[in-house]
Structure formats: structure tokens, C-alpha cells
């Protein structure tokens, strides 16, 4: 059972997330061997930039969408345990994570719609189509993990994996989760909503701080989504020798590294092809996985 967490953890959490996100972005730039992709310098460059507003834009909606993304990402992370402690181990933590992550739908669409620009509009709508594709297999995957522990509390899910990691006996759910982690953060092969072919899509018209907040929020969401796979499928802080928090960090780093590597190896996935795969292959597969887990739960 998770121990109580001091309140100052609340203040630390956002900084840790930002640091991990910066580190991941650095690693990504390193792998691309592209000196132009340095995240720190990019932030500074955008900080001195003037903000801009497109002709007849809906300023309120744009701003709301931009700001919502990092807020949702950080709020989702309250249930994320470092070792065996999270900022708040909510009784329905998995549902909370799901709810916060789904706010990205609204965020990206609003940011895409607001600027009154064709390309950003296309980007925003692309994310809705993407959501329809990744979300259902994703929800089935996280419920499968909850089913394995018979609890919606993330701490209980971690405890249930003191012996065998869920990733071992629910491999399909784990792989589906990783796919959807990239999908929900519209990152890597799933970056079509902010794709280069639409000149940045939902982010095409954002400059200055707006751009930092939106694209930074996307990195945060990506880090949080990837990190949640550790307590749900990779045994959280469980592991020999090292303390729990070290294991959590190690495993999170490994998952992030894997996903960053995948991004280099795979072309962008367009939803008009992926939706079919998601519904005809991934959804039945996830349901089958849930059935297997349910049978195991019944017989123990």
C-alpha cells in the first residue's frame, strides 16, 4: 500500500516532469543528430518572440486549448507513483488518468480551431479522428491492468505486480498501451495533428509563449503517458537491489528511449488507414486480452 506523501511533493512534481520532458527531447535531438532541435535553445528563442493573432481568430478558444494541454498532462500525473508514492493515490486513479488524458482531445481541437486558419483547422480535426482510433483500445488496455489487480487504484496495481509484471502476462495490452501513449500525445508516428505536411497543424499559427506552452504540454503529456506504463504494466517500483524510486526512473527512461527510437524508425501513421486497424484488429485483441485476464482472475 502506498505511504502518505508530504504535501511539498505537489510543488516538486511539475519540475520533475519538465526536467524529464527536457531530457527526453534532448535525447530525441541527439538521436536525430540535429543541432537545430535543441529544446532549451528553442524555448529561449520563442520566449523573446512576439505573440501573434490571426485575422478574426477566436482568441479565447485558442488560448484555452493551448493552456489546457500542459494542465491536463500535469494533473494526470498526480496518480503517477515514484517508487511507491504518488502525489495522490486516488481510489479511482486509473479513471482519473483516463479523464485527464482525454482533455487533450478538447485542447488540440480548440487550439486548431481557434486561429481561423485552414491548416491548423485540419490539424485539430485530425486529432479527433486520431482519438477515435486510439482511445478505445487504450481504455481497454488500462482496464485490463485494473482487472489484473481488481482495483482502480494505481498503488494497488503496482502492489499486484510484486511477483510477475503485468507486461509479461498481458503483452497485448502493454503493446496497445504504448501505441496509444504515442497517439494521445500526438507524438512520433502519430504526430499528424501537428505534422509537417500541414506546416505544424494545430500549432501552425502559434508563436512565442503560446507555442512553448502548447508544444511543451505535448512533451509533458508524452512523458506522463509513457511513465504511466511503468506502474500499470512494468511493476512500478518493484525490482531487486535498487530502491523503488530508482526502478521507476529506470523503467520510465527505458520506455521513453524505446518510443523515441521507434519514432526514428517508422513513418507517420495516417488515421484514415489506422482507424481500420485500431477497430478491426486492436479492439478485438484488447477484448480478448481482457477475457484472458478475467479468466485468470476468476481462477485465483
Amino acid at each position: 500500500m502506498a505511504e502518505t506523501t508530504p504535501l511539498w511533493a505537489v510543488a516538486v512534481l511539475p519540475f520533475v516532469l519538465v526536467l524529464v520532458a527536457l531530457g527526453t527531447a534532448h535525447f530525441d535531438a541527439l538521436l536525430a543528430a540535429d543541432p537545430a532541435a535543441n529544446p532549451g535553445r528553442e524555448v529561449l528563442r520563442l520566449l523573446v518572440q512576439q505573440r501573434r493573432r490571426t485575422n478574426a481568430a477566436d482568441e479565447l478558444l485558442t488560448r484555452l486549448g493551448v493552456v489546457l494541454l500542459p494542465v491536463a498532462a500535469v494533473l494526470a500525473a498526480v496518480v503517477l507513483p515514484l517508487g511507491f508514492r504518488s502525489v495522490s493515490d486516488l481510489a479511482d486513479g486509473i479513471v482519473w488518468f483516463n479523464a485527464m488524458e482525454a482533455l487533450a482531445w478538447a485542447a488540440v481541437w480548440l487550439a486548431g480551431w481557434g486561429p481561423n486558419s485552414t491548416l491548423s483547422l485540419i490539424g485539430g480535426y485530425r486529432f479527433l479522428a486520431q482519438g477515435l482510433a486510439y482511445e478505445l483500445p487504450h481504455m481497454l488496455a488500462i482496464t485490463t491492468a485494473a482487472l489484473g489487480a481488481e482495483s482502480l487504484r494505481v498503488g494497488d496495481v503496482v502492489d499486484a505486480q510484486s511477483g510477475l509484471w503485468f507486461a509479461v502476462w498481458m503483452p497485448a495490452a502493454f503493446v496497445i498501451y504504448l501505441l496509444s501513449a504515442m497517439g494521445m500525445a500526438f507524438w512520433g508516428p502519430f504526430d499528424q495533428p501537428v505534422g509537417r505536411d500541414v506546416a505544424g497543424g494545430a500549432a501552425a499559427e502559434l508563436s512565442g509563449v503560446d507555442r512553448i506552452v502548447f508544444l511543451g504540454g505535448r512533451w509533458l503529456l508524452f512523458v506522463v503517458a509513457a511513465a504511466v506504463s511503468v506502474p500499470l504494466f512494468l511493476g512500478g517500483g518493484h525490482g531487486p537491489l535498487l530502491p523503488g524510486w530508482a526502478w521507476t526512473l529506470l523503467k520510465t527512461a527505458a520506455v521513453l528511449a524505446l518510443l523515441v527510437w521507434v519514432r526514428r524508425r517508422v513513418p507517420g501513421v495516417r488515421m484514415e488507414r489506422y482507424v481500420e486497424l485500431a477497430w478491426v484488429v486492436l479492439t478485438p485483441l484488447a477484448i480478448l486480452q481482457a477475457l484472458v485476464v478475467a479468466l485468470v482472475v476468476l481462477n485465483r
Binding site: 523573446v48 518572440q49 505536411d197 500549432a203 513513418p267 484514415e272
Partner: protein, 484 residues
């Protein structure tokens, strides 16, 4: 203030560069891309994240509305420079960075007050234009071509003129001339929109593209009408947007403009246009060896193979970037630069072979691009297409396959010291150069048909898989100059 200046200096140490590449400037563009890469300056995809607008080539100063559009969209700190020759790239970039620092703290007018913006724009233009003057002189040194130089000078003056007239109603007459090609019916639409014109250069767009009549009663907000409805292919009446796509999109054929009618993100209709440029005395870069051979010059096969290899790698990197495969795209681009830098067959092959293997084996790529933009051989042939698109006779995936094959073959043939046979070997990267029309003309002719009904992302992939080279369509300056 000292601190601020230092901050600005650090923040713009690697400014975001937005490239506005004109047709006919492939050599300068290649040098620019290489230089940006080696400096580590990010090449951004939209004005919103740009600091530096770099105009590559010779835009027609009488119709440079698109460049003004880009310039208007860039937030401060910003600067613009123009580059004509590959040799001038480093100095132009230095110049641009320096003027970013100088003008970091300058109020920019909003588009709403075009007059003010205009004043700014003019000032902004000044220093870089000076730089250009210097550069142009350098260029002349290389060419020693009088008619050429007089033309450039002329062009520059015009450039100033356009800037001056930008805010005035002249912009409209300019635009009318441009739009006139859609037919005269639209002129009335434009006339009706005269009132909107006051909203700045952009109001003038209203009457474009065959629905001028509608606009007369269409609701108008902030200088633009709202989208009107039209039947879609499923028989629904849906909003239809008219959007000019290009010419300065990332990974897009330089100078191409597609006038799209979009419903959602589906292309309903597409019309091809190109950015007007000044005539050039130079042969299109990618076709150069074959064009020279066609005039009877002796051109080594190895040289042609190198050019072909680089041309396809150039197309390939743009294609891979458009399909969202940044890793492979970067490799293709690096290999292109290796081939252009004169590295040996062995070195280029070592770079190219793993790339070819990876792209050919990618099932994901096949799954994602198969069936897009199908162009059967017979249709291609009847349209006059003669290059890889004809050989492939299929979809985007097949065309890329042909590029890959040809890249591998060409990379192995850099040392072939035979001569190009002027009778049989006149096929450049995009097709036969000895026909009456340039091969890319045929590609542009088939393009609208392939785009209709395609989703936006698919449309981009189709364009990238044909990769028309608008350099071929740049009007030649003077026949006798071409020989000189």
C-alpha cells in the same frame, strides 16, 4: 538594456528560418539547406515560428504578394534577406542575423494598418537589399554577363517599387492580373469586392476561383466572406473553402501553388499555378547535364549519373518528410549532399544502400502509401509523362520504388567516363528533356486529376511522389544567352 541585448543575442543565435524558394533557384536552395544544417539553424514550417525570412531566387517583383504574406505573418524579432547565388548564402545568413539584433526592438505595425506595416517593411527591406547589391556584384564576377546583370538590377528596382505600392490599392490591380487567368467572369467579383480591399492586401482575394457571384451576397466578416456551401461527392451540401496552397510550404516543390477547393480536409478541386519569376539565363539545375548533351556538348555519363542520383535523393527526402518519416528523410538528404559534394561512388553507395533497403522493406510505408495517386502507364503516356512516373505506372509507392532503384543504379555509375548519347540518353530525373515541353509540365498537367477526392495528407503525398520541378518552367532569358 545591456541584459536585454544579450538575451536577444543568445535567443537569436540560431534563428528560425523560413525559406521562400522561387523556381529556378535549386542550386541556391541546396546550398542554403546545407548551410542551415551545418549552422544548426532550425528550418521552420510556418511564419509563426520564424525569425528570418530568406527569399531564395528571383521572384517577379510585380507579383510578390506571397512573399509579403509570409513577411506579415512573422512576429518580431524578424528580418528578411534575399539570396540569389549559392555562393552568397553564408554572407546573407550573417546579414540576416545581424539585422535581427539591430531591429530586435522595433515596433511592428499590425496588418490592420497596412500603411504602417508598409513603412516598416520598406525599412526592413533596405539593409538586406544593400547586401543583395553586393552579392549581385559577386555573382556578376562569376558570370560576366552583361544582359544578365542589367536584368538583375532592374529586378531590384522593381522590388522596391512593389514594396512602396504594397499598401496602396495597386495590390489589387496586381492581383486582378493574376486572377485574370481564371477567366474574366471573376473580374466582376473583384469589382464587387473593391470595398473589402481597404482591409489590406488580403481582402482582394475574395472573388477568386469561379464563385465570384456568390461572394456578392455572402456574409463578410473582417474583410473576408464566410465559406459557402456546395455539393460534395456524396450528395451532401457542405461548406467549401477556397485555399491557395503554397508556394512556401515545408517540403513542397518550390514555386508551386495549388488553388484548392476543400471540404473539410478533402480536396474537391485543384488547379495548378506557379509563382511568377524573372526569366533566367540558366538551365534548370537538375536537367543540366542532359540539356547540355542535347545541344551537342560532350557530357560524361558519370556526371549525369551523379546529378540523377542527387535529384532523386532530393525528391526522396521531401517525400519521406511529407509521409512523416523524419529519420529516413534526414538520411536521404545527407546522401544527397554527399553526392553533390563530389564524394566517390563507394562513399555514396555506403550511405544510400541501407536507406534503400530500409525504405523498400518498410511494410508500414507500403501500407500507408499504397493506392495513393494511381497513374496507370497508358494515362501517363497520353499526358506526355516520361520519367519515373511513367516507368512506375502505378501509385505513389511504386513511384518511390522507381526512385530508389534509380538512385542505387546511378550511385554505382559515378565513374562511368563514357559520354551521354545525344540521341538516346536524354532522360533526366523527371523525364525526357528533348521533347517540346519540359517533363514537369506533364506532371503538373496530371496533378489536378490525381488530387481530386484525396484527403489533404494524401494530396501532399501525391504531390511529393510526382515532385514536379518548376525550375524547368522558368522562362529562358534569351536563346543566345543560353548558349553563352
Amino acid at each position: 538594456m545591456e541584459l536585454r541585448a544579450r538575451l536577444l543575442r543568445t535567443a537569436t543565435s540560431r534563428p528560425g528560418v523560413l525559406l521562400a524558394v522561387c523556381p529556378g533557384a535549386a542550386r541556391a536552395r541546396l546550398a542554403m539547406e546545407r548551410e542551415l544544417r551545418s549552422r544548426g539553424w532550425p528550418q521552420v514550417g510556418s511564419p509563426a515560428s520564424a525569425n528570418l525570412l530568406v527569399i531564395v531566387g528571383d521572384p517577379d517583383p510585380a507579383d510578390a504578394e506571397w512573399i509579403d504574406g509570409l513577411w506579415l505573418g512573422i512576429p518580431a524579432p524578424k528580418a528578411r534577406v534575399r539570396v540569389r547565388e549559392a555562393e552568397d548564402v553564408p554572407s546573407a545568413l550573417d546579414e540576416g542575423r545581424a539585422s535581427l539584433l539591430v531591429r530586435g526592438k522595433r515596433p511592428e505595425g499590425d496588418a490592420g494598418h497596412v500603411d504602417e506595416t508598409h513603412g516598416e517593411g520598406d525599412n526592413h527591406g533596405t539593409t538586406p537589399e544593400h547586401a543583395e547589391n553586393n552579392d549581385t556584384h559577386g555573382g556578376h564576377g562569376n558570370h560576366g554577363d552583361d544582359s544578365d546583370s542589367s536584368h538583375h538590377q532592374h529586378g531590384e528596382h522593381d522590388g522596391h517599387d512593389t514594396h512602396d505600392s504594397h499598401s496602396g490599392p495597386d495590390t489589387h490591380s496586381e492581383h486582378d492580373g493574376h486572377g485574370g487567368h481564371d477567366g474574366h467572369g471573376e473580374h466582376d467579383g473583384h469589382g464587387g469586392h473593391g470595398g473589402h480591399g481597404g482591409h489590406g492586401g488580403h481582402g482582394g482575394h475574395g472573388g477568386h476561383g469561379g464563385h465570384g457571384g456568390h461572394d456578392m451576397h455572402a456574409m463578410s466578416v473582417a474583410g473576408l466572406p464566410m465559406a459557402d456551401r456546395a455539393d460534395d461527392r456524396d450528395g451532401l451540401r457542405l461548406d467549401r473553402l477556397h485555399v491557395p496552397l503554397g508556394p512556401a510550404l515545408p517540403d513542397w516543390p518550390a514555386g508551386l501553388v495549388l488553388r484548392l477547393a476543400l471540404q473539410g480536409d478533402v480536396v474537391q478541386r485543384a488547379a495548378v499555378e506557379q509563382v511568377p519569376v524573372l526569366p533566367s539565363a540558366r538551365r534548370p539545375f537538375w536537367n543540366e547535364p542532359w540539356l547540355r548533351a542535347s545541344t551537342g556538348e560532350a557530357v560524361a555519363r558519370g556526371l549525369a549519373a551523379r546529378r540523377l542520383c542527387a535529384a532523386h535523393l532530393d525528391s526522396l527526402w521531401r517525400y519521406l518528410a511529407v509521409v512523416g518519416w523524419g529519420g529516413a528523410a534526414a538520411r536521404a538528404r545527407a546522401a544527397r549532399d554527399q553526392a553533390l559534394a563530389g564524394e566517390s561512388s563507394g562513399e555514396v553507395l555506403a550511405a544510400v544502400r541501407p536507406l534503400i533497403r530500409r525504405v523498400q522493406r518498410s511494410r508500414t510505408l507500403r501500407w500507408l502509401t499504397a493506392g495513393l495517386g494511381v497513374l496507370p502507364s497508358d494515362r501517363a503516356a497520353s499526358a506526355g509523362v516520361s520519367g519515373p512516373a511513367l516507368v512506375a505506372g502505378g501509385d505513389a509507392y511504386d513511384r518511390v520504388g522507381v526512385w530508389l532503384d534509380e538512385v542505387g543504379r546511378a550511385a554505382a555509375a559515378f565513374d562511368d567516363d563514357g559520354w551521354l548519347d545525344a540521341a538516346t540518353e536524354l532522360s533526366g530525373p523527371r523525364g525526357r528533356v528533348d521533347g517540346g515541353v519540359p517533363p514537369s509540365r506533364a506532371l503538373l498537367d496530371v496533378l489536378p486529376g490525381l488530387l481530386e477526392g484525396a484527403e489533404f495528407a494524401c494530396a501532399r503525398i501525391i504531390v511529393a511522389s510526382l515532385d514536379p520541378d518548376l525550375d524547368e518552367l522558368v522562362p529562358a532569358l534569351r536563346p543566345e544567352v543560353v548558349h553563352g
